[in-house]
Each structure stands twice: as C-alpha cells, then as structure tokens.
C-alpha cells in the first residue's frame, strides 16, 4: 500500500493491529518489508497506535505491545483485532482478476484459483457479485505446452512468423514468461539472434521444439515494459499519413495511431508509425480503395507502382 496519502495511513493503522496480532513476535524489519513501508514509518505507526485505545484511555485501555529486541507482539488490541471488510472496489479488483486467471487458457493451478475465487466471493458477500464476466480466447493446449516449457526453463527453437517483415524464421530463444495482453498470448523470451528480449505472439509461433539445454538468460534480460501496450512506437520509425474512408475507419481502433483528424469529415486523416514502409504498403494495398496515401510520397509511389506491377502480372 502506498504510504503517501493521509487516508492510506489510517487504513494502514487499522490493518496493522490485526496484522501483528496474527504474527506474534514478528521482526519489525520483516513486517515493514511485507507491508511495503520503511522501518522508520512502521515505528512511527506503532508509536501512534500506542496512544490509542478504549475510552478511559488509562494504561489498561490503550493498545499495548511488547518489544523483544527487534521483535514486536501486540498484547492488547482494544477491539480492532480484525481488518476492515473489503470495500466494493477491493472486492471487484480481486474478484475480476481471479476470474481472469481462472479463464486463462492453458493455465496451471486452475483448481486453486477457483477455490480462492469462491472463498473471496463468500467473504465479500453481496459486493462481490461483481457484474463482470470474462472470456479469453486462445488455444489452451498450445499455451499449456509453451507454459510447461517455460516452467522447465529450457531453451526453445521456434519457427516464427514476423508480420512486419512478412517472413518466417527459425530462432533459438530463452523463455521468460507467457503474457496475455488484450486477449492475445505472447511468449516473452530472450532472442539469441536479436540479442534482446522480444515478445512473440503465440499464434505466430508456427512450430517449436524444446531443447535439452537450459535457458540461459543473460544479466541484461529484463521484463518488457507493457504498461503502454505491447506495441511501442519508437521515434525512429517512419510516420505514415493516410486518408481513410468510412469502410476502413476501424484501423484507428486496431492500430495505435499518432493522430486521427476525424472532426466533421468523411475522409479521416490518420497518422501512424510503422516499423517499415514495406509493411505499410501491404497494409494500404490490403485496405483497398478505402485508403489513400497522403505522405510520405515514397509510399504513395510504392503503392501505385506495386498496383500497376500486379495488374501487369494478371494481364500477362
């Protein structure tokens, strides 16, 4: 829990007494680490609690603790021996996340997840009747196989289709974890060929073999930052601007866009960063007459030339 805001401190204090009560003789440093506060902050919290208690506020009424070196034991709780009930937001956040886990194709421990979900729902009562349903698509068998390989910490040889370059390559990767983002599964792994961490879309892994050799993650292998989504445009990627008719407006929901000018016009002006212009050419050709290229001129020319070339191939 964050230590910053005022309300958080009150919540933390009301939680602290039952927390310590459940763990007599816990080391202050361990408690601080588990509660995600500094040791100093925790000591200040304990000092504050020490002067709180039942009306009368005499020695027998105040919350009391015994210190033994670095260890602390609550010896009198003044009636706050249980944490506060879950708020609707807390129950919702936990229940929805557990439902999401339980729905995951290919996940292990499904039984434990479902038991946990049932218990949290029971404890939260009415408020846990979260009006939220989750269904995640995916090939459960394939995901389970890949997950198992990840868990065994073996290197994998994969046949992978790279859509941006329209090519299928073989590579050896050292798996890190399987992620599901926006309903799509990804294998996060160190790619020995690229010498970098990469996210491989599981539906584009056309084949894989688990190798005997152990996965060897180099020190610089870090989890990808996916807070802003899987695809992160980099400033060195070219910006493509398209004029987009009604029938192709869906691309603004499908691809991350730099800008969309959509006010009171039939033809939207859409700019997006692309990994390379060959991919952009494929995109534009595939969208047909609903889309025309505004810039760069190089792309407009490439689209026109390729279209003529293809028509010529059909005329031959």
């Amino acid at each position: 829990m964050p230590t910053g805001t005022a309300a958080d401190r009150l919540a933390r204090l009301l939680n602290l007494v039952p927390y310590l009560l459940a763990r007599p003789g816990i080391e202050v440093s361990q408690a601080a680490a588990e509660l995600d506060v500094t040791e100093r902050q925790l000591r200040e919290d304990l000092e504050l609690l020490w002067v709180c208690g039942l009306p009368g506020y005499g020695p027998g009424d105040l919350i009391d603790m015994a210190f033994d070196g670095d260890r602390v034991t609550v010896t009198y709780d003044a009636g706050i021996d249980r944490p506060l009930r879950l708020t609707p937001d807390e129950a919702l956040a936990l229940v929805v996340a557990l439902r999401m886990l339980a729905e995951m194709p290919g996940i292990g421990e499904r039984d434990a997840i479902e038991r946990a979900l049932a218990k949290i729902e029971a404890a939260a009562g009415d408020i846990a009747e979260a009006p939220v349903a989750v269904r995640i698509p995916g090939d459960a068998d394939r995901l389970a196989t890949i997950r198992t390989a990840v868990e065994r910490r073996h290197a994998l040889r994969i046949t992978y289709y790279t859509a941006t370059r329209d090519e299928t390559t073989e590579r050896v990767v050292d798996p890190m974890r399987v992620l599901i983002v926006d309903g799509r599964a990804y294998l996060e792994a160190w790619c020995r060929h690229a010498e970098a961490v990469r996210l491989f879309r599981v539906d584009r892994i056309d084949g894989f073999t688990e190798l005997d050799e152990a996965a060897a993650l180099p020190r610089q292998a870090r989890h990808s930052d996916i807070r802003e989504g899987v695809f992160r445009a980099s400033p060195d990627q070219p910006v493509v601007t398209l004029q987009v008719g009604r029938g192709a407006r869906w691309i603004t929901e499908y691809y991350p866009c730099e800008s969309v000018v959509d006010a009171d016009v039939e033809q939207w002006l859409v700019s997006l960063r692309v990994s390379d212009l060959t991919w952009a050419r494929r995109l534009v050709l595939g969208l047909g007459s609903d889309v025309t290229v505004v810039s760069p001129a190089e792309l407009a020319e490439a689209v026109r030339a390729e279209t003529n070339r293809t028509l010529a191939a059909y005329a031959a």
Partner: protein, 334 residues
C-alpha cells in the same frame, strides 16, 4: 492528515466499535480525545461540528460502516456506532496455493485505481493472517487493462443505477448520447463491453467501452431496475460481436514468387514448386475477403484459379489506382 487527526480517527473507530448504544455527537465529543470544545460557544461548537462531519466522511470513504440511529424512543438526537459484524472481514481460510493465486491476481492490474484497490484488498487479507508469497507465479500472466468507463459502469451495474454517456462508432460521424440500465461488463476477445437495456432504443444493447467518449454519469437512484434473471452476459456479447469466422470450404490456387509472401504460405494446404515460383493452394470462404488479403501482397502473388477470386483481385487493384488518382487530383486542385 496530521498525526493528531489520525490519532483522533483511530480512537473514534475504537470507541464506536466498543459501544452497543448509539453515541450522540455530544457524547462522542465528551469521550474521544481531540474533540474537546465549549458547546456553549457558538463559534467553537460550529468548528467541532465541521470537524466531526469531515471525520465521519473520512471513515465512510474508507469503508467503515458507520451506523446511525437512536438507542431508545426518548433520544431526541440520533447517534452513531459501528457493529463488529459489519466492520470485520470474515475469516477467509485460504490454503497456501489459494493464497498464492490471490497474490498473483492482485498484481495483474495495469490500471492505477484498480491496482491500488487490489493491493489494499490483499493487505486486508494479510492482516487477517493470510500468508502470501510475493514470488509465486503461474507461468502465464494475464495483464489486466481496462478502459476509463470500466469503474463507473461496474459500480452502476452493481447498484442498478441508470447511466448516460456519449458513444461513438467509427463508422458514424457523430457521437450519440445513450441512456442505459447497465446489467454488467464483459471482457470478450480482449475487449471490454457493457451489456444492458437501452432506454431510448427500448432494447437490449452492447457497447464497447473504448467507444465511450464522455464521462459516464449516473442518473436517478440506485436499485432502479432489475436485470433479467439467470443472465448470461457473455452470450449477449458473443451474439452481438458476430459468430465465429465462417468455415473455409473453397480452394484457390496461387502462384507465389520464390521465398515471398510468408504470411500466405503459413496457411497453405500445399506448396508445389512451379515455373516462376511456387504453386500454393489455400482455402477460403468468401472471394471478396480472400481477395482483400491477397492484394496486400502485391505482385508476389497471382491468383490462378478460381476466376471469381482472380476477378475480385483485379477489381480491387483497379479501384486502388482510381482512388489514388482521385486523391491526387484533389490535392492538385487544392
């Protein structure tokens, strides 16, 4: 919050938990340290009332069930108390593997508000004695991302409260204002939807959360309607977002340049070397949709058969040239 105020609030909670009788504001002021004032001094008394109102709001905000009522018919003024049954988290006997699952679940949110709610919820479970291993993983980690409208819509669905919002579908030029009795929120194929009864259209409707372009505002009191019994939210969205992709019952033969169009080859039924490249057989369901896909690969791919796909591809190519000409003419004229 100052230390003094925190201390006062902790004492207020303890005091109200320990009483069976409802305590009036005056009784609380006489008991709990920090509320000392002169009730006969109008200004002083007003300051106390303001302070007490703020404190009550703070506790309710935190989820402390502050109850108001009178202990006997003779009490003129309502008082306050907190019953243990409403305050305390019931016992949750989680097995270690269940606790690990909850710990993992709490980390999934990539959304500030819900991530905080999940971790403060987890903190309460820990305070109830549950040990959570922060290192546990399941090998597969879903990342939970929700749209801004998620929180207000789940809250309104739970409370059965009508909402309004502006909704915009890309194919339409204007957003429209909608009034909805929300029944629930669904995650389907990686996108979030709300299902409910649209009061203006007088029909059941699904809305994609990412297309809600305004704030979601509640209208009227909670408990205003009743969702249908035995509601299956998923099936509504599944029906609305269209059925599974149609079956591929037709075959087309393509000539693909050597080593090109890997994106098509991976779906091929067969690949046979031929003069000028590879003869590749694919399956499809609709000539126009398969043509759209094939045109993307330009001159690397030429459809040999059947004529309906060949014609559809040529037609699209001509349209592309025509569209580009039109657009160039407009730009030239401007």
């Amino acid at each position: 919050m100052s230390r003094v105020r925190t201390e006062r609030l902790v004492n207020l909670v303890i005091c109200l938990l320990s009483t069976r009788r409802y305590l009036t504001a005056a009784q609380i002021a006489a008991t709990v340290p920090g509320y000392e004032h002169n009730p006969h001094d109008a200004k002083d008394h007003e300051a106390f009332q303001r302070k007490f109102e703020r404190d009550k709001a703070e506790l309710r905000e935190l989820g402390v069930p502050l109850e108001t009522g009178t202990s006997s018919a003779f009490d003129a003024e309502p008082g306050y108390r907190i019953t243990r049954r409403d305050y305390a988290l019931p016992d949750i006997p989680l097995e270690p593997d269940e606790a690990a699952a909850v710990g993992i679940a709490a980390r999934l949110w990539r959304h500030a508000g819900l991530a905080e709610a999940a971790s403060s919820g987890l903190a309460k479970l820990r305070a109830a004695g549950v040990e959570v291993d922060p290192q546990a993983t399941l090998g597969v980690e879903p990342v939970l991302v929700v749209d801004r409208a998620f929180e207000p819509l789940t809250a309104a669905s739970r409370l059965r409260q009508v909402v309004t919002f502006d909704y915009r579908v890309p194919e339409h030029d204007q957003s429209t204002s909608r009034r909805l009795q929300p029944w629930g929120v669904v995650c389907w194929r990686g996108r979030w939807y709300v299902v409910g009864y649209d009061l203006d259209r007088a029909a059941e409707r699904c809305f994609r959360l990412s297309r809600i372009v305004s704030k979601v505002t509640t209208v009227g009191p909670p408990g205003a309607y009743r969702p249908p019994p035995r509601l299956d939210l998923i099936s509504y969205v599944a029906r609305w977002s269209g059925s599974a992709p149609p079956e591929h019952t037709q075959k087309a033969t393509l000539l693909i340049k050597p080593g090109r169009a890997a994106g098509i080859r991976r779906w091929a039924e067969s690949v046979t070397p031929a003069s000028g490249g590879d003869q590749v057989v694919i399956t499809y369901s609709d000539a126009h949709s398969v043509a759209r896909w094939l045109v993307g690969y330009g001159s690397d791919v030429v459809v040999q058969d059947p004529p309906e796909v060949r014609e559809a591809v040529i037609c699209r190519l001509r349209e592309i040239i025509a569209a580009q000409d039109r657009s160039d003419a407009t730009v030239g004229a401007g």
